[in-house]
Every structure is written in C-alpha cells, then in structure tokens.
C-alpha cells in the first residue's frame, strides 16, 4: 500500500462516530486548557494518559491530536480578547490581535486566527505526512552554530520591529535577557543569580512571566486608571466576520506563517515562539499597511497564528521519524506511544504504518473539528468584551492565579507572578513595551546555549560560526535586516518603520 492508501484508510478509521466523539472531547479540552493561562497541553495530555490507556490506540491518539492542536489554537482567543496569552506561542498574537479587539474588530481577528490555524494545520500536516523523512534530514543539519545564527536573525528582526523609539524597546529586551540568566547554567550546571533561593535554580518560567506581564499587569493598569464613561472600546464595530478585504490581507500571511513555522517546529532546537517572532517581523516588513502595525493590523494576527500551528505539526516530524520529543507535549505523546508498546523512531513508518497514518488522519480531523467548533463560537467570544471591566479583570486575575498554581503548586511561583505583574504595571505606566522582555527571556538562553555549544565543539574557534553555508546565510540575512532599516532611516524613510514600542496598550 502506498502512503495515500494508508492515509485514506486512516481517515476512514478516524471518521467513525466514536472516533469523532473522542476528537470532539480532545479539541474541547485542548481549547479550554489553551485558554487558561499557565496550564498547557503537556499537563493535560499527562493527566489523560491513564484514562486513555483504557481506549484503543486509535482512540487515544485522536484525543491527543485534538488536545495538541486545540491547545495551540485556544491560546490565541484570550490573547486577542483579553491581552492575556494562554501560551508563550501566542504572545505575539496579543500585540495586534488585542488592538483589533479594542477597535471593535475582535471578530475578524478571531476568525483570521481560526482559519489561519486551520490552513496552516492542514498544509503542515500534509507536509508531515509526505515529506517527514526528508525534512528531518535537513533539520538534523541544524547544529549549534546554525541554530545560533537563527537566534541572531530572530533577535535582529524582533528588535528592528521595535521601531524608532528603540531605547525603551531595547531596555525592555535587555531586562528580559538579564532575567534569562537566572538559574542553573545549562552547560556547566552552576547556579547563576539565584542568590541561594532554590526556587530560582530552574530560572524564571516563561509562562509565569508572560501571564504576569500581560494579564496581571493589564489588570493593575485597568484598576489604576480612573473609570471612564466611554466604554466604546468594547463595542463590536461592523461585522463579526471577515470582510473581503480581511481575506485579501490574510491569505498570504497564512501561507508565509506556515512556511516559517513548519521548518522551525521541525528543528530539534526550534519551538513555536521563534516561528511567531519571525513571522510577525516578516509581515511587518512586507505589509502594504505598515502604519497599522501597533494599531491592530490583521496580518500581525494571521501570520503568527499560522506559524504557531504549523510548528505544532513540525514538532511531530522529529518525534515520528527519530523518536525525538522536542517539546513537553511531544514528550508525553511519546509516552503515549510507548504505553501501546510502540517505539517511535526511524523504523516506525515501516513497522507500524497503520498507527502513524492513523495519527496523521487524526490530526487532519482534529484540525477540521477545531474550525467547526470555533467559528460559531466567535460571536459568543466577542460578547466577553461586553462584560463589565471590573468583573472581567477579576476573572482574569483568578484564572491567571489558578493556572500558575495548577502548573506549579508553589507559593514562590505565585509571588513571582504578582511581583512581575507589578513590574508589568510600572512598565506600562512609563511607556515601556512589555513584549520585548518576554522575547528576551525566551530567546536569551537559547542563543547563549547554542553559541557556547558551538564554541565548545570547535574548542574555542570562532570562525566555525560562518563556516557552515546555512549559518553564514542566516547571519548574512540578519546583517541585512540590521543595515537596511538604518539606510532607509538615514534617507528619511524612518517613519515607515512604525512603532511597536510604547503603544501596546
């Protein structure tokens, strides 16, 4: 049987009524945990493992697939409506998405996120199905120096997106980089900046930081401003659905987001966040409406949302072809495979084609199910914006706290949540952007580790960084991204590089 026959057979299995029910449970749960800040798909799948053990392999895989894609999707809803990312991969979505929601365009923002996620999920799953073995060969070529070059590119493009008031943006970024140094150094095992506090040994949790900065900081800021009679920000303006123009502006970012997110997800050191950063920077560069960036540009939602779903599928490439879990959720799915006596690895496609194709078919079904579940809900979701603010933000605080405690039952973690929440409020008060601090916290340790690994392997020879063609190309791109805006600005076109800084809220 060829790949296509296996896929058809898998789809037939996954379309049985009981399987569809499992898929529905999976996507509903996944969306729910994605919405809740702090609790991610990894924990959900871990909790469900003992339950799914009683199901057959096909049933449990389809549920996992639903949770996995649902979690990726659910994070965007709160990002857009409440400026509270549920997952670190939807931080970027909050930048433009929440601006759109405040201008009464929450409906189209949610729709472009949902449809973009679907399109990206569909394309990426098909790529996974037919190209996984060859993609993984390319992904393996990405060693420490190539990864470092990629991180440099991400840094440069994200910093460039900070626009003209770079000082505040960079201050925020470097604050994030400094916080990223806290904890046990991965390469030597020595503690840095932990001041003897055992809870700091593992560093600062990105989700805690993101939830604190966005959700708690936002709630404090709202509480800190005088109640205004003008509540027009929450009204729904125009149609809840995407207009023809919205479609025209969304489809390219969806495709570009997929093209960026999928390969980065497939890389062992990748991760959904980097794909969203790069996609945002790309859309901002290519947009015909750069002035709208920072004020609710639909491209800035469409691209990153497609990228994070595509990278979710990309993560499955090394999992299925090499047995390498590159994310927490993938690690638990690996455990799920193992409980059915399967060992993912180079031989899985050959020894267990039915199950692999069953999983891929499940992903396709889960993806379609998500769209069907979420599109009609958009009308309901935007009503959330009409909830009176004190109630809404009290609710957000409650969920932020529950999510943090649920993921890590420690009073210290809760203290950090509140402490960084206050920091987020102070930064808002003085007009410092909050996204770069989270970006620094995510990218800093990755870049540092990759650089040190590369130098350790080369025994201190810096020239290796440019000796690989992939690394050299990426570094050249980064240099271009750094220099071109400088030239443009010098020639008086600086105003087109609009600001992300200072006006996130």
């Amino acid at each position: 049987m060829g790949a296509f026959d296996f896929l058809m057979q898998g789809l037939a299995t996954a379309a049985e009524p009981m399987m569809l029910l499992y898929a529905l449970i999976g996507v509903t749960l996944g969306t729910a945990v994605g919405v809740l800040p702090g609790i991610g798909p990894a924990l959900t799948v871990a909790l469900l493992l003992p339950v799914t053990y009683r199901l057959d392999p096909a049933g449990s895989l389809i549920m996992f697939a639903g949770i996995y894609y649902g979690g990726m999707y659910g994070g965007s809803t709160t990002s857009i409506l409440l400026n509270t990312p549920g997952e670190s991969a939807s931080i970027i979505t909050a930048l433009e998405g929440n601006k759109m929601a405040r201008r009464g365009r929450g409906g189209p923002a949610l729709a472009t996120a949902a449809i973009g996620s679907f399109v990206a999920g569909l394309i990426a799953t098909l790529l996974l199905a037919f190209l996984a073995p060859s993609i993984v060969q390319i992904a393996l070529k990405m060693g420490p120096r190539e990864n470092f070059a990629l991180m440099v590119l991400a840094f440069v493009t994200v910093s460039a997106a900070l626009g003209d008031s770079a000082l505040r943006g960079l201050t925020s970024l470097f604050l994030g980089l400094a916080l990223a140094c806290v904890g046990i150094d991965q390469l030597t095992g020595q503690a840095r900046l932990s001041f003897g506090v055992p809870e700091l040994l593992d560093g600062i949790e990105v989700t805690t930081m993101a939830v604190a900065m966005f959700a708690v900081g936002e709630a404090l800021a709202i509480a800190g401003t005088r109640v205004q009679a003008d509540e027009s920000v929450t009204a729904v303006k125009g149609s809840v659905w995407m207009s023809r123009k919205d479609w025209a502006r969304s489809w390219k970012p969806w495709l570009r987001g997929t093209a960026i997110g999928f390969p980065i997800g497939a890389m062992p050191a990748g991760g959904a966040e980097i794909g969203t950063f790069l996609s945002y920077a790309t859309e901002k560069k290519l947009s015909k409406h750069p002035e709208e960036f920072g004020n609710g540009a639909i491209e800035g939602v469409a691209g990153p949302e497609a990228a994070n779903n595509a990278s979710a599928a990309g993560t499955l490439v090394p999992l299925l072809t090499l047995g390498l879990p590159t994310s927490a959720t993938a690690a638990i799915m690996l455990a799920g495979f193992q409980q059915f006596g399967l060992q993912p690895g180079p031989l899985l496609f050959a020894t267990n084609p039915t199950l692999v194709w069953g999983l891929i078919a499940s992903l396709l079904i889960a993806n379609a199910m998500l769209l069907i579940l979420n599109l009609p809900l958009i009308g309901l979701w935007v009503k959330l914006l009409t909830v009176p603010k004190p109630w809404l933000y009290a609710g957000i605080l409650l969920f932020a706290t529950l999510g943090t405690i649920g993921a890590n039952p420690s009073s210290f973690e809760l203290g950090m949540l509140l402490g960084f929440g206050v920091l987020g409020y102070v930064m808002r008060l003085f007009g410092y952007p909050i996204a770069p601090i989270v970006v620094g916290l995510i990218l800093g340790p990755m870049a540092e580790q990759q650089l040190r690994r590369a130098l350790s392997i080369s025994q201190g020879d810096w020239t290796v960084l440019v000796q690989s063609p992939i690394a050299a190309t990426l570094l050249a791109l980064a240099a271009l991204a750094l220099i071109v805006p400088l030239i443009l600005r010098a020639r008086g076109k600086g105003q087109v590089l609009t600001q992300m800084a200072g006006d996130e809220d």
């Binding site: 871990a46 991965q186 062992p268 392997i457």
Partner: protein, 313 residues
Amino acid sequence: MKHLVLASLFASAIALPAMADYTIIAPANPGGGWDQTARTMQQVMQEDGISPSAQVQNVPGAGGTIGLAQFSSQNKGNPDALIVGGYVMVGAILTNNSPVSLKDVTPIARLTGEYEAIVVPAASDIQDMAGLVAKLKENPGAVSWAGGSAGGTDHIAVGMIAKAAGVDPTKINYIAYSGGGEALAAILGNQVTAGVSSLGEFEAQVKAGTLRLLAVSAPERIEGVDAPTLKESGLDIDLQNWRMVAAAPGLSDEQKAKVTADIEKMAKSENWQKQLSDKGWMDTYLAGPEFDAQLEADVTATQAILKDIGLVK
C-alpha cells in the same frame, strides 16, 4: 464562558487533590521519567486496589531538589505521602548544594533503572570503545560528548570513562543538552564525536543502523543488546540510572513496613511487570537494607566523581 467554566473545573481538580491514601509527588514536569514512573505507579495501585484513589502531583525544579525539599518539610510523619526520585537527584543534591538530601526522606525501594550507552554516528571512523579511548587519550578536548544536563548521569558517565582511562576528568569536552532527545539530534547530525544517554534513547537508532553502539554501562551483557560492557572494554564502570520511591521522614517502624509492603506488592504484581515490559523499563527492584547500602555507595561514588569533574568543590 463555557470554556472558562470547564477550564476552572479542570484547574481546581489539579490544584486541590481529592482525599487519597497515597499522594505520589513527581518532582519534575509532566512527561519525564519520574513523572511517568509516578503515573504508572498510580495506575497500578489504582487498578490492583493497593490504593484505589492514588494521586500524582508534579513539583518540578532543579533536578528534583525543589520537590524533595517541599516533600520532606510538609509531610513529616505522613504515611500516605510518597515521592519518586532517582540517581539524577543524587547528583543534583550535590551540585545544587541542596539543604535537603535523601537522608531527609525514607527511601523505600529502587523500582527500575536504565544503563547508559555510549554511541557514535554510523559515519564515524571510531569502531569500538578502544578506538574512542585512544582518541580521548590523544586529545581529550577534541572528543566532544553529547548528553543530558550538566552534572546528570550522562555527564557522570563520561567523567567515569575518562578517569578509568587515565585521562584528567576536568579536561573532558562535555556538551550538555536539555534532554536525551536534543542530544540524539546532535549525534545523528554528526555534530559531536560521541553520545552518552540511557540505552532506551538510542535503541531504535541502533537497530536502524544510524548509530553504532560501542558499550553499555551494565555489570554484564544485556540480553538482546549486541554490545560489550564497559568492563569488558577495560574500563571498570558499573553505572545505573535508577528510579526509586521514598516515603516521608519521621515514620514509625510499622508505618515504614506498611509502605514497604504496599510497594513490594505493586512491584511484584503482574500489572506492574506488564507496564515495565510495555515501556521497555528494566525491573531492578531492590528494597530493605540492600537498597540502603546501594544508595550509600552511590552517593559516595557520585560525590567523588563530581569532585573529579570539578562540578562540586
């Protein structure tokens, strides 16, 4: 709001564990070996009626020392509290200068373990352990080793190999990755000279012929694995990355005996044995004074090697 309500129910279910006889602390994030051990214990205990409503709670951080500290301080004399741990914890307690050690809990039994495997990419010109040791002796820095976190079992294994081969353990070029998976990618991508991790991480690749297995850290050959032991290769090393279960400090002798009996019942059950074989885990059950002695020996040996590598002063 439906989702939010659902989510809140979900969150409260995690945050407030219901009444239970055994609460098993997994001092790590969901997905890792300790978490899986704890959840498998939970499942077997529930299904076999040893503890019908056993719960698992994750307290991640710092090689398990955060969970260990919280466990020992909050559960003094509580016969229903269990914690999963392992060899990695022994090293983490030393490297992190943890104020709490395994002396502050009541170790009950070793449950399972994995041996370390030393591999090279299939394209490598190194054919056997002797070849790798020769390269290491020639220039220790030129041999890069990929493995898990610094100070973990993989790092310790490399230190032991260097020491046994007469090479200065502080000179080893160990590249720490955040997990066996990422290290595996580096080895497959030909970016490092050799790789060290649990045998299970490499098994599928070895079968597929993309990695060459040079040696395993078991005391004698492992059935079904076509590789010599390190001892056969002239390096006197016997290293097992074991996982254990411990109870709270301050238990009476009767309480300790009850817990030990429950764990033994679980470990000897058909259900547990089936789980082990499904997951490819070895049964290395060891309890009582033998386990205490083994633990003591492991702590002493680990302290020595971490000093040699230079991670502990």
